[in-house]
Amino acid sequence: MTPTTSSFREAIAPLWRDNLALAQLLGLCPLLAVTTTVVNGVALGLASAAVVVIASTAMSALKRALKPAARLPVALLILATLVTVVDLFSEALFYDLHGKLGIFIPLIVVNSGLLAHAENVASRRSVGFTLLSALATGFGFLLAFVALGAFREIVGHGTLLSDIELLAGESYRGMRLDLGVGGVLVAILPPGAFFGLGLLLALRNRLTATKPQDRSSSGTPR
């Protein structure tokens, strides 16, 4: 395997193999709390992804300018600023959705997985690698939100993409699908979040277990 391919594979590992939520089990608090519908999940997943992509890339670009002692405070400053900006931005443009996500937008700042990426990966790797890896981390996290949100919305409400107009605009209201099934209340209650997450983890382990050669390359030991 050429070095380019292996570092590419390492950079995109957080998309699935080292997925923040499904493999590292980080950031579960917002994941479990807001995924009562797909749209809620997509909104918070996108906000988290935007924050990690910008923060990590900026930290990587700044790594020569920053002494090790300054790295953590600056990373926190950048993350806190980005999260505040995203919070104000979403309140200005997506007021109703912002109301539904509530405290979980400001709480992106304490997502340890995102901080670890902006601190660890960004300080050791090139800007290009960091950008790719941050995209993989963000979209991997978004994937977990979408999967859990879709599962809970279908089983709990029997719909998909309800409230889409809050995110995409009034003209997309018709994208909402009524599946005519579901209505299993427990799926949208907090216990349903844990059941859904358990099923997702089981599914992921099943898919990973059939391809053992994928686990041979480097990654965080678990």
């Binding site: 002494k67 002692a69 405070p73 900006v85 007021y95």
Partner: protein, 219 residues
Amino acid sequence: MANARSHPFVTAVVVAAFAAAAFYAVEVTYDWSDDRIAANQRARVVAGLNSVLEPGLRGRDLTTTLLAVTDAALLGSDSPIDVFVLTDRGAPMATVFATVAPHGYNAAIDLLIGVAPIGTVTGVRVVRHRETQGLGDAIDTAKSDWMLQFDTKALSAPPPELWAIEQDEGEFDAISGATVTSRAVVAAVKNTLLYFEQHRDELYARAAEAANAGRASPP
């Protein structure tokens, strides 16, 4: 060693520079979003007021006067709540209470209750609640029509002893599985009507006074 000694100072300067940049970025975003967020909040209040008015009054250009009143027993909160008196050339057309049902299942329920001058309910909507998803959240008109049963009700119709849910020998439907929530909302609507009956003239007088003082604001 001189280099090592200068590190903390340099580090502090670098971090301070980033803090200043962060401050500036937040400031710029705040300036940009401030008006939009305020407009969103106003739009929600106006939409909320419209939703609890009689259909004939919705969207009409009424003068809205905001009053603050406190009545822990009847309005559910120790702190002042907002009361909107809507007038048309000085004649009161409707009163909207942003009241609180203190005994919700998980927390207090914030309600908007519209009352016509003759004391009938013109609409009740939930503004904010923490009731159980799938059960108590049927108080939200997006989920069910339960809230609409209060329309046109008054203190005399049904009589006061029937202002309760069926389980308590009253006239109002309860949400199945959410008796506590239903009881809390029925009580809040009844108490708001009681407050209105006792303070109607006072509210109208205060609204007229505020309008004369030029503090009235269009919705």
